[in-house]
Symmetry: C2
Subunit: 300 residues, 2 copies
């Protein structure tokens, strides 16, 4: 088995290449919109959600051969949703940020109207990808995948988490309230990544899918806790986005709510909880375990 | 058979009631977002796309009983996409409009960030509706419906039409260029309405679906031509949105490109072309014929 770093590099490279193919060419009209969509998605990011798709795919159906082209498509759909949410979040009426992945944000590089349409179009593209390719032996499972992604993206998932985030600016949140926000804002899409990867690989057992769901919930929260720690500790250059912004905007973070030391403990506890859930699965869960560790130990 | 007016009122009422049920309750968190989603969708609009869904549904499978609850869901999905596009289009970075269906636009009544999230969440909800309900005997057909709606909404459909629209402000467009813009901007969703309605009703014959597609293309263009005529002729109070805005913003319209008299002729020619396509269909196309007439003769 490849080292984790080699596996991660391999998945990142193949997903980048799949995104290159699945995004509309910048030579097709409307060209400026298509160029901006590619700018928003390509050449950046840790691709955490695709990594979760592939890791869950490897754990999904013990013994069965893995169809990586299916995982590519699910990973692309998740990255389209993730990228759209970043483009819209960075807009002046939301976080008003000018830097993302070390580059000017879309509304700065292009304009606000284009940024709005880029986000809208990337969301449509995500669902198109899930419907236009064969991702499961049974079309009913594939409809379930569309349903999972739509629920994770919408008002009861990611977009709803953003709304809770907006309402929370300048308010003291309790830890459960902060958790509720992140379970939606970043957690929903991370859970969807694991759920889609497992289903691409043919996982059907309800109990197994529930253990995976619990793993994903813990990793999603850990991811956010670590994001808050890095936002407070890492310099902007390392982060690729404006550091210390949440605190400056009066947004509640794990660090502001429980303090830096406790936030670090929590990240490790969530990692341990995630790994415990993997112990109940029959398949090969080593990549999922390594990913949980990576999410907590990462430095960017 | 009911009169067209009675049929139209009946469809509008049942779709309003279906939307009431399918939109998240304003009592469920995040409450402000859900209230704003309901504000954006409920209690207004001609419901042209739902009318096309139902009319196409009635023409779809001659002799077969029509499952109106399927048509309800497809109609709701289309209205969610349509309403999201209006909310985003009205935002300051796009058309910057304050009035829609006689009410303050969402970003005026709520705020810009909420308007952004309302649009995003309504798009997700549209795909959720198509995946979460049984709309066709065969799940493969239902995936095709997801694909049709995603394509119609995205960068090669509605959102792409918006991008072409943005690029065209202040530029003299030729008639083919103007048509290309509208085939995407409003036409794509109107074609999707007809395509989804027919598929809900079990239509499978390729040639028939192509005739329906041609009908929908003509009706979509006629709809836009008439919109441009009304924008130049009708007062704001009748229109429910700011009249004369396109001309004031230097946007090319059918009236500005071909003149008022020729635009009126074109609307009638497109109606005749649409009705000719219906002549090649075996099912009951009377509602589709009446709708084509309604689109051209409407006064609001």
């Amino acid at each position: 088995m490849d080292s984790f770093a080699a596996w991660m590099g391999g998945v990142q490279a193949r997903v980048e290449s799949a995104l290159e193919r699945q995004l509309p060419s910048a030579n097709i009209a409307p060209m400026r919109l298509h160029a901006a969509m590619r700018y928003a998605v390509l050449g950046g990011g840790k691709r955490v959600r695709p990594l979760l798709v592939f890791a869950a795919g490897e754990s999904g159906a013990p013994g069965a051969p893995i169809d990586a082209t299916r995982l590519d498509i699910a990973a692309c759909a998740l990255e389209c949703i993730h990228a759209y949410s970043l483009v819209h979040d960075d807009m002046p009426c939301m976080d008003d940020d000018v830097l993302r992945r070390g580059k000017p944000t879309v509304h700065v590089e292009y304009d606000e109207a284009t940024a709005l349409l880029v986000g809208d179009s990337l969301q449509s593209l995500a669902f198109r990808l899930l419907a236009d390719h064969r991702l499961a032996a049974d079309a009913t499972i594939q409809l379930e995948m569309v349903n999972i992604l739509a629920h994770a993206s919408g008002s009861r998932g990611m977009a709803g988490g953003q709304a809770i985030d907006l309402d929370s600016v300048g308010k003291p949140l309790s830890l459960p309230e902060l958790e509720m926000m992140h379970v939606h804002k970043t957690g929903a899409l991370i859970r969807a990544a694991v759920a889609l990867g497992a289903r691409c690989a043919g996982a059907r057992d309800k109990e197994q899918l529930q253990h995976l769901e619990h793993y994903a919930k813990c990793v999603g929260l850990a991811f956010q806790v670590v994001d808050d720690i890095l936002d407070c500790e890492a310099p902007t250059a390392t982060l690729g986005k404006t550091a210390g912004k949440d605190a400056a905007q009066g947004k509640p973070t794990y660090v502001s709510v429980v303090g830096l030391a406790r936030a670090k403990e929590m990240a490790h506890e969530l990692q341990a909880d995630a790994v415990r859930a993997l112990g109940k699965l029959p398949g090969n869960t080593s990549r999922l375990r390594e990913l949980a560790e990576f999410v907590v130990l990462r430095r960017f």
